[in-house]
Symmetry: D2
Subunit: 336 residues, 4 copies
């Protein structure tokens, strides 16, 4: 619950943006898996700020330090604790936020819920927390690869643009306008066997939706025919099954179902979309309230991303990888 | 997990469409609540088939029988067991399905997962199971009402239509064409205090998304600015806060956030949408495969709904009510 | 939590002693298992009152009715709902208890916790609830048998007696004296593979202890050398390992460890003890308080057991069977 | 599950004895609690080796470093991550154990379960892990104190001795004999309100039993009249209730129930016992097997404790404190 994700493969996640460190514990990792540390670093690098002109100029080293659960390069089956120290935490930049609530942020809601908050850099609500998810997902991915499963996320839309060049231009335009812009990220999971997902409440799409909607700034999720399918007739979306002699598998001639039927994978590619709002941290003056509920002005400066793309892509992959591995382990348990 | 929904307020759900009965267990219901049995019956009536010319002509009495957890009309705080006997189960109608897998259904995936299935009426994957959710939701609603919270779902779109008369016409047209049609249902939750939802993985939107995506035929979920917001600039979606002297509360001038910021309710209305695919049970001949993976013809007949609307509306309300009550109880635990 | 037992193989349990029915839901049952209904009836018969002169003369038919999860005699992998109707509920006998709290019972504590209680026959706290556990355990046992695992409980001590005849005499003497008497039940689980149980908090002995201490009237649990081993030197309790050429397995020359080392099974027999207090429902006048906290007299009559033995034995087996099956499924999940 | 303890107040625990660090994450800590870091250090000091002539001479600094969830000395309500670096890890001492399984230890069972293990210092199965529990318990205790609750554990028996001086002598004698000795630890929880614990599976005694039996070397648990009560008649153990005019509370004239009736606290002191086996690491030559299942000799040297007392006492308190706080938060959730 709350700061733990998953049933069998579980990530417990902690840390504030400007505290000493963020980190996590992966419990339920299968034993004996050789850990590719370079691959984990590459995943973290994809999430890291400052990597291109499209992202914030903040530097975060994001060096992960593994503390347990791995011995001589292989997993022990015991929990994998890890931390990422926080550096370049220019907390003084945030002094203005000690008493002011940023609009569209978690500042007011955390204060309302807890009566206290770490206002520096968004505290617990900072997207910095997603680095922990990336480590959990990169570890999960190493198991999935052994089973021939791939997970790939990609930008489908940025603002009103749906072509790569145009999407990049939308981000530059937003930044130039001292503004931010929304996006839709797609993701495809290939190589899954039929039979993942549980009936009723733990349908595979419900698990994926929960995973994706827990990412900062996510506002929507759909899979297969999705929202567009609501405008369709049933006869337009029939996925006719057939036995494929080549692969010796049941296949579908089309995949409007998005690889899931009745909550359970059917062996076709799973594909889904995640809608992200424009990042709420606007580099322009805003009207806000302070902690005595007085109207005030607020200027957050400019060290922020104009769009969740490209950095959110690896986070979507990480959450998908953990969800799929967990579902595989659930299914395995039942195969006793 | 799996057939249990929720953390503190939990519904465990069982039953196949043509077995002896479906039913559930509500664990975590607060003690001392007077149960309005008529209200529960009204909720069940809203989900029941045969209630209007827009729905299937099948009759399901859906009489719920409470077995525990209620004494002299009040809840005991102990688990509330209940069952709904299955009647009018014309299982013979389904004999053809013993060896055939309906396209876009759970038939093949259940067989792949379990190596066995109850093929009659969809078995565990039947939407009949949602009657259990309606009971769980109606009970939750009785607690929410005491706290001044309302939950209202409604049709936003049927096929390509967005106006009531046109939506009704879409359903009649689909039926006349021996077809089915998709829909989008909206839902608004009002009267919620700030502070519900947990950081990171149990964000309120993640809990709601999981709840909604677990409903049969749901293909998408969004809240607040949702998928449309992905095309926007951040400056278009700022919800400026202010202190409302009348209500003595912090309010937002707009509500693009959909009542949730940083995963936690801010006191404004929560609103979200659920996209449903056209019902997969088409009243027209289809190409299918049988359990020896041979191509075959299939005719499912006509005793089915042409659209999830209007019957899914109360199911959306039920899932929302349970989610919100559970979040309230989680928040209460932390207030020690 | 609370009324649900287990992680993967899960029993959710409901019902008051004098409500319409008690019942449960088994979720996580593997699919395709042939159900031996006669065996389940035999287990229930072992728990049923009125079966010998050593137990209460109350009659409980304890007919279990399965509602889901089983089709044509085999499990579907979906949740198995079941109920046992309450009959011979002479609730009028309990009218005196509407306003009085029985000493050493749950009457006062339920009232303190919930502000309401079903006072008839102990309500939710009645040992009648254990019939539900017996069904859950009997189902688990059918899977365990397929894996060559046996679970056997037995009386080790009744009052001060440790020999069968003497134990029986202790029960008759207690009844004759209008009194009740305590007991210790032992249990042995054989045929378990090494590797069950999880490190740290879900050690196999912790899972078993929780299971046993949840049984009504249980006051103590130990395993292997147990409480007696506290008086020993380490050198007295060494289980020397060796490789057994016959079975081609690692074995231990002695089994002071009780089949568990470091929380994980080692392949030797698991054995443990459960201490039960004398049943609190004494057939003699008692001093009590009423719900206005006034001192009062109370006479509970004589329709009760003088000792948990022999009826608790099958309940111990049921809880052990569910615990072991759940641990096997947990271990299986990790074997991905 | 597994490496996470608790439902609402949850400790996730990681770390091997000779890995870089051990640590944990406390999730569910109430917000706004002032943290007394000195008190946490004092608790850790009570568990630390090398503190008296009765314990091992190993030095462990056990400096806890808090990484999140605390800001300006007060808890944020967000997860509290912490680590304790491993120092003085003389791993070379353990080289002999790379291929040998110590009798009565987790070496063989971990190998059987995972196919891999960190053999240095017991790895994950080392009692060093309990330092993490002590931090979790010390944090819980700070909340309990605000509610007037105290938790005190103490040695009841060491070997055959039950008097302080004699117990100390048993430990010295065992060490002199190059042996170890068992013990029984008692614990009393005072100041608890009636109403903690849940019916059926989460009875307060079941939660406590699970907590205690998860501690390394624990072999038994009982509470109230416990194992001794099994030899008694019911009439000997009646706790007669009365209304105490001074405290304006319902009290019991005796407390054979151990403060719990029907699984729920009644307001009297909760007291229980935990039996510990003699520590399995004997400072004398032993017969063992190696990882090719050949018989071999083993000498573990002398840097180990001769008895879990006195160091286990604070671990018992820590587990009791977390259990009670979790039960209080569960009860609070239901009070909506």
């Amino acid at each position: 619950m709350s700061n733990t994700f998953g049933n069998i493969y579980r990530l417990t996640d902690f840390g504030e943006s400007h505290g000493p460190a963020i980190g996590g514990v992966v419990d339920g990792m299968p034993a004996g898996v050789s850990v590719d540390f370079d691959e984990i670093r590459r995943w973290l690098a994809r999430r890291r700020p400052g990597q291109s002109t499209l992202t914030t100029s903040r530097k975060e080293a994001d060096e992960v330090r593994f503390l347990s659960g791995i011995y001589e390069g292989r997993t022990l089956g015991t929990p994998i604790g890890f931390i990422i120290e926080n550096v370049d935490a220019r907390s003084a930049d945030y002094e203005e936020l000690r008493h002011k609530f940023r609009p569209n942020h978690a500042d007011y809601t955390y204060q309302a819920k807890y009566g206290i908050r770490d206002y520096r850099g968004g505290g617990r609500a900072s997207a910095r927390e997603t680095a922990v998810r990336v480590v959990g997902g990169a570890l999960a991915m190493q198991v999935l690869k052994q089973h021939g499963i791939s997970v790939n996320a990609y930008a489908l839309q940025v603002g009103k643009a749906t072509e790569p060049d145009a999407m990049e231009r939308e981000i530059r335009d937003a930044r130039a306008a001292r503004d931010t812009v929304g996006a839709i990220v797609g993701c495809t999971v290939s190589g899954i066997a039929p039979g993942l997902g549980e009936p009723v409440f733990d349908k595979l799409q419900a698990l994926l939706a929960s995973a994706m909607m827990s990412i900062n700034a996510a506002k929507g999720f759909d899979y297969g025919s999705g929202f567009d399918g609501a405008a369709c007739r049933g006869s337009e979306l029939v996925d006719t099954p057939f036995f494929d002699a080549d692969s010796q598998k049941v296949r579908m001639r089309t995949n409007h179902s998005g690889g899931i039927q009745g909550g359970i994978s059917n062996g076709e590619d799973i594909y889904f979309r995640v809608a992200f709002k424009p990042i709420a941290t606007l580099p322009q003056p805003l009207e806000a309230i302070d902690d005595e509920f007085r109207q005030c002005a607020l200027d957050l400066g400019g060290r922020h991303d104009p769009c969740v793309v490209p950095r959110a892509i690896v986070v979507v992959e990480a959450m998908a990888a953990m969800t799929v591995l967990d579902a595989m382990m659930m299914a395995k348990a039942a195969s006793l």
